[in-house]
C-alpha cells in the first residue's frame, strides 16, 4: 500500500516559509476590514462656529471656530463645513480589530482610550491651527489617574504600522459628574493633534520576562498576528515576529501576568484564530493552535476579551 500526498504549491496554507520583510499594508487592511465591525462616526461642522458633536451618549467631541487649515498648504479654512471622522478604541478587543497595540517601543502601555480623528474638506486633509485644540470626552466608570497623552507615530520597516509615543501635544483630564441622579466618570483629551491619539500610562515593571509564542508551521509572519491581551489591565500587545526562531515575542512582560493569547491569521482568504489563556512565568515557548474561524466568530471572540 502506498499513500502519496502532494500539496498544492499555489496555496498559501502550504507555504511555511517565513519572511524577513514586514507585512504589506494591503494585507493588514484586508484582515482589519474583515474582522472590524466598529464603524467610524462621520459628521460635519461649520468652521465659523463652535461645535459639539455627540456621537453617542458616552462620546462627544468639541470643535472650536476658526481653528483649521489645510494640512498640505497651511492655508486656513475660512468657511464652509469640515467633515469629521472619528474612530474610538475603548475595549481591548477594539485594539485587535484595528491591529493597534497598546505598546510604546516594546514597552507595555495601559490605556484608557484611543481615537482616530480625521478632518477633511473638499477631499483635502485639514489640521488644527497652532494654539488651538479640540476636545474628546468619553465615559469610563473605571477611570484612574496617572494617564498621559500619546500620539501614534508611524514606523517604517518594522512589522507594525505605528507605535505610540508620549508627547506634550495634548492633555488628559478627568471628569466626574452626576446627571439626573446618575454618577458618571470619564476622561477628556484636549489636543490639536489629529489622526491617532490616546491616553495611556507606561507599565514600567522591573520584574519582566520575554513572552515567546509559537504557531504551527503553516502560520508564519506573512499571514499571522499574535496578540497578548492582559486580563487585569486594559492592555493589548501585538507580538513581534522573530524570524530567527520562527516565533512571536513580546519584551518586558511582567512576570506572572495573566494574559490571553490571541492569534489571527488570514491564509488564502480564509481566517484562522487561536486563543489560549496563560500566566507568563518564564520565557518558555507557548504554543497556540489556530483553527479555522469565520470573521463573525473572530469578532465575537474579540468582543468578549
Amino acid at each position: 500500500m502506498s499513500d502519496t500526498f502532494v500539496p498544492y504549491t499555489y496555496l498559501g496554507i502550504n507555504d511555511t516559509v517565513w519572511t524577513k520583510r514586514p507585512l504589506t499594508s494591503s494585507f493588514v487592511d484586508s484582515v482589519s476590514a474583515a474582522i472590524n465591525n466598529n464603524f467610524s462616526f462621520v459628521d460635519s461642522f461649520d468652521v465659523n462656529a463652535d461645535n459639539t458633536i455627540k456621537f453617542n451618549p458616552d462620546l462627544s467631541i468639541f470643535f472650536p471656530e476658526h481653528a483649521y487649515a489645510y494640512r498640505n498648504s497651511s492655508y486656513p479654512v475660512t468657511d464652509g463645513k469640515i467633515n469629521v471622522q472619528i474612530l474610538a478604541l475603548v475595549k481591548k478587543g477594539d485594539y485587535i480589530k484595528y491591529l493597534i497595540p497598546t505598546s510604546a517601543k516594546n514597552y507595555l502601555l495601559q490605556t484608557a482610550g484611543s481615537f482616530f480623528v480625521h478632518l477633511t474638506k473638499n477631499n483635502q486633509e485639514v489640521a488644527m491651527l497652532p494654539n488651538t485644540s479640540f476636545k474628546i470626552k468619553w465615559t469610563n466608570n473605571n477611570a484612574f489617574s496617572g494617564l498621559n497623552f500619546f500620539e501614534g507615530v508611524p514606523l517604517a520597516n518594522i512589522d507594525s504600522l505605528f507605535t505610540w509615543a508620549q508627547t506634550p501635544n495634548g492633555t488628559i483630564s478627568y471628569w466626574d459628574s452626576t446627571s439626573l441622579g446618575t454618577q458618571k466618570k470619564g476622561y477628556q483629551i484636549s489636543t490639536s493633534i489629529t489622526n491617532w491619539i490616546g491616553c495611556s500610562n507606561l507599565l514600567d515593571t522591573a520584574n519582566t520576562v520575554r513572552l515567546n509564542v509559537t504557531l504551527p508551521l503553516n502560520y508564519t509572519n506573512k499571514n499571522s498576528f499574535v496578540f497578548a491581551v492582559y486580563n487585569d489591565k486594559n492592555s493589548v500587545v501585538r507580538l513581534t515576529a522573530d524570524y530567527a526562531t520562527r516565533s512571536f515575542y513580546s519584551l518586558h512582560v511582567p512576570v506572572n501576568s495573566s494574559i490571553t493569547l490571541v492569534s489571527i491569521s488570514m491564509i488564502d482568504n480564509k481566517f484562522y484564530a487561536g486563543t489560549r489563556s496563560v500566566t507568563v512565568a518564564n520565557a518558555n515557548r507557548i504554543m497556540l493552535s489556530p483553527v479555522k474561524s469565520s470573521p463573525a466568530e473572530i469578532i465575537s471572540l474579540l468582543d468578549n476579551l
Binding site: D3, T4, F5, V6, Y8, I13, L217, T245, R246, M287
Partner: protein, 475 residues
Amino acid sequence: MQEKVFDNFIRSKLENYSSPVPGGLWEKIIRDKDQRPKGFWWRNRYGLLTVIAVVVVTAVSLFYVTNQKQNNLKNNTNSTLTINQASTEQNKKASVNNNSTTDINTPDQTVTTDAEINSTQASVTASSRKNDNISTGFMINHHKNGLFSFLQNKNSKTNTESSPTNNLENESTLFSQNEWQNFSSVKNSNAELMSLNKNVYSLNSLHNPPLNLRSIFGLGNDCPSANGNERNDWYLQLYASPDYTMKSLSGNGLSNTYLQKKDSTEKMFGGFTVGAKISKNVGDHFILNAGIQYSQLIEKFNLSTVNETRTTVVIVSRTVIRPQGDTTFNDTTTVTQIGYAVRKNLNSYKNIEIPIGLGYEFGEVKDKWKVAVNGGVIIHVTSWYNGETLDTSYKVVSVASKGNGGFYKSSTGLSLYGSISLIRKINDKLDVFAEPYFRVGLTPISSSIGYSQKFNAAGLTLGVRMKLNNKKQRL
C-alpha cells in the same frame, strides 16, 4: 462359374460368422442413458455457450479424425486382404498363403491372403464384404496360429512365420492347376475393377462405416484388439499460469455515481494460477482431469482525492546564533497541508478451486507434438480477500475477509473454462504443455454494501505432465 469360386470360398467361410459383443456393453449403454443430463445446457447463456463450444470442438474433431483415419488406413497394408495388380508379373515379390476350401469350412477358421506390396501401389480388397465388421487384421492377429498350423500341414515347406514364400509353389500345392487358373483370372479381373474404385472398396470403408462414432472418438471397436491394445494412461499435471483478469461490476440499486467512482478506482492487475491435476484417458483421445488449484486475482486500487487536508506533527529544531552563544530551539508543532492524495493498494482475491474438465487430444500417443482442446468447470471451494475499496460514502474501507466479518458474502462459486493445449513430448514419461485458456465466472461475489462482481480471466498455462504408469500401459 469360375468367377464365383472365390466368392463361394469366402461366403462359405464367413456367412455364419457373428462379431462378438463385449460383456457389459448393454449395461453400460443403459447406465449412460440414465445418467444423461436433461436440459442442463439451457439453464443460462453460459450453458448455451458451452453447447456451442462442444459442437465446434466436436465438429473439428470429426473433421480431423475422419481425415486421420483415412490416411492411416490407406497405409495399413498389413491388415488388408490385398492382391497386387502386378502379382502375376512379380511373383518373387509377393507371397500368398492359402488353404483348401475343405478346411475353411470350420467356423473358426478364415482364409487370409496377405500380400506385401509397394505402398505406392493401389490396394484393393478381394473380400466378399458380406460381413463388414470383420477385420482381416484382427483375424490374423488372433487366429494365425490355427491358420498357420493348417498351412504348415498343407505345405511341404515348413514355415512358422508369416514370412514371404514362393507364391507359385504354395499355390500349386493348395489348388489344382485348373482351380488356380480360375482363381488367378478372378484375381486379375477383380484387381482391375477394384483399382478403379479403390476409394469405394478400400478397407477403410469396408471396416469403418461413415458414422462409426466409436472409431471416430477413439474409443476403439467393440473388440479391443482390433486397433491394438487400449490406452490406459494416468497423468499428473503440474502447472502455473499468469492470468489476465477482468471484472464486471453490478450495482444492485446503488447509484451510478458510486459505481463509476468505484470502477474508476479499481483496475484488475492480472493474477496467477498454480495447481495440480490428475488426468486419465478415456479412449485414445479423450482425457478426463480433475485437480486442485490456487488462483489469485490482483486488483489495483488507486484512489485520488483532491483538496485533502492532512495535519502532521513535526519536531522542528532551530539554532539561533547569538554573541553570547548559540541557542537551539526544539518545537513540537504541526503542519497542515492541503493537496491531492493518491492512495494505492493491491487488492487480492484468493481462491482454492477444483477444476474438473474433459479434453480431447489430437494425434497419437507416440506423437511428439499434440494439440488438445479442453473444457470444464472450476468449483471455488473457498475464497478470501484483502485490500481496500470505497464504500457508498466514498470512504476507504477494508475488504479483508479476516477481521471485519466478511465484506463479501459468498466465498464459493463456479466458473467455466476452455483451453487449447499444445503438448510436447519430452520422453515416454514426461510431456510439457502450453495452454492458452479462458475462464468465465458464473457466480457473482456479493458485497455487504450491495454491489456484486464477477471475475473472468484469460491466461497461458505452462506445465508438465508426468505419466504415472509405465510408459504406455495397455489393457
